[in-house]
């Protein structure tokens, strides 16, 4: 792949570490799901900050490369880090742009989904028996902090856009405006129906019109 403009490949030291982590994760995945990725390539463009990496299925692992030279990846995903994480882990592709073969992306999502990874066992294999408890607790605490930070960040961003920058209408204003629009639409619809009925009645009462011969005001009637 020739990386898209402004996309820098991740350095080898980082992709090597990532490959280790991803494959450690996939070890707990269904073997067939990983095997389906063999020979396929999935490029990921993280914007911002404009970094790229490629997952390339090998016979025994999912390779993580900085870029793929001289060939187009089967599928390219582009989006923010949060949107990409949601797309790869949860299957929510709403925030990412997908170019290429979506079936390959589905295979990757299947491989990544439903993995029950034994973090405690893995940590203890690295740091020794009994060490996993405090580390996992610290990890849970960190995850809680990050979750709260993300929620607060979203709320603060909405407040800023609404109250300071005035990019969004104040709370309640949009709803009131939407109700007014709905009411106006109903009133207009009724008015239009009324006018149409009046036009019909007017046409029916006009002298010399085709409707007048049989209409209620015609000379031969009644």
């Amino acid at each position: 792949m020739t990386p898209s403009e402004n996309i820098r490949p991740l350095p080898t030291a980082f992709t090597a570490f990532l490959e280790l982590a991803v494959n450690r994760w996939l070890d707990a995945s269904e073997e067939r799901a990983v095997a389906r990725l063999a020979g396929h390539s999935i490029a990921v463009e993280v914007r911002p900050p404009g970094l790229g990496l490629v997952f390339l299925g090998a016979a025994d692992r999912l390779q993580v490369l900085g870029s793929l030279e001289g060939e187009e990846p089967d599928v390219t995903l582009s989006g923010s880090p949060v949107a990409l994480a949601a797309a790869l882990s949860g299957g929510d592709r709403s925030g990412v742009s997908v170019r290429g073969d979506g079936a390959v992306l589905t295979d990757l999502q299947r491989a990544l989904a439903g993995v029950s990874f034994d973090w405690a066992g893995w940590l203890e294999s690295l740091t020794g028996a009994g060490s996993a408890g405090p580390l996992l607790q610290a990890g849970e605490a960190l995850r809680g902090h990050v979750g709260r930070f993300m929620r607060r960040g979203l709320e603060d961003t909405v407040d800023y856009a609404r109250e300071e920058a005035r990019w969004l209408p104040p709370s309640g204003e949009f709803e009131a405006w939407a109700e007014d629009v709905a009411e106006l639409r109903d009133v207009t619809a009724r008015l239009e129906a009324r006018i149409a009925r009046l036009e019909t009645e007017s046409a029916a009462g006009a002298p010399g019109s085709s409707a007048s011969a049989d209409g209620p005001g015609s000379p031969g009637s009644g």
């Binding site: 063999a38 390339l56 692992r61 030279e69 001289g70």
Partner: protein, 251 residues
Amino acid sequence: MSDEEERGKTHFGYETVAEEEKAARVGQVFSSVARKYDLMNDVMSMGIHRLWKRHTVQRAAVRPGMRVLDLAGGTGDLAAAFAPRIGDRGQVAICDINASMLVAGRDRLLDEGRVGNIDFVQGDAEALPFPDEHFDRVTIAFGLRNVTRKERALAEMRRVLKAGGRLLVLEFSQPVAPLRPFYDAYSFKVMPLMGRLIAGDADSYRYLAESIRMHPNQETLAEMMREAGLEEVQYENLTGGVVALHRATRF
């Protein structure tokens, strides 16, 4: 090719020797260092050679079922990385002119349980014993500078590559200017000393340092690859140009 080479002379480190003599003398060097080659690589590069090779494997981007030729493959670092990635349907051929290096590589890979899709071939890079258009990837790591006629070797690498196949040459090169004084001191003082202490052979490591200086720089090698008929030639410096990874495609 220089006038000297045209008259059948070439470099062996800083010495000028007859072309037919170089292969034998390089053979002596590698026979001498084969047993402790991996250890010396780790010590002298402070382990960085693993990252350079890892980067080469990444750039190769191999897939299951591919055929890979690891030229001057010696102790099999690259082959050990390629073999599991290409799987049972693929094939890695380690080709080295030096039997001692091949034996060291074969023993090591057998000890690691890497068997089945790896072949060991003793052969000359200037006359490869493989059919035309046979491999998807050809790699040569820290081997090209020891080849007597590099132009012939590059042409042979092109010949055995399939259309669309890629060549990757990992080799010592010319570091950026600020690094050169330190690099020279390290190469000519520290390397032979460590060679003497660890492998008991200072001369061989002095040759390795000298051969690096005599190897074409980045641009010259890129031009040689183009002249050999390879296309999309590009290179990247690693560790400030101490090593360069040249890549090219055969169409």
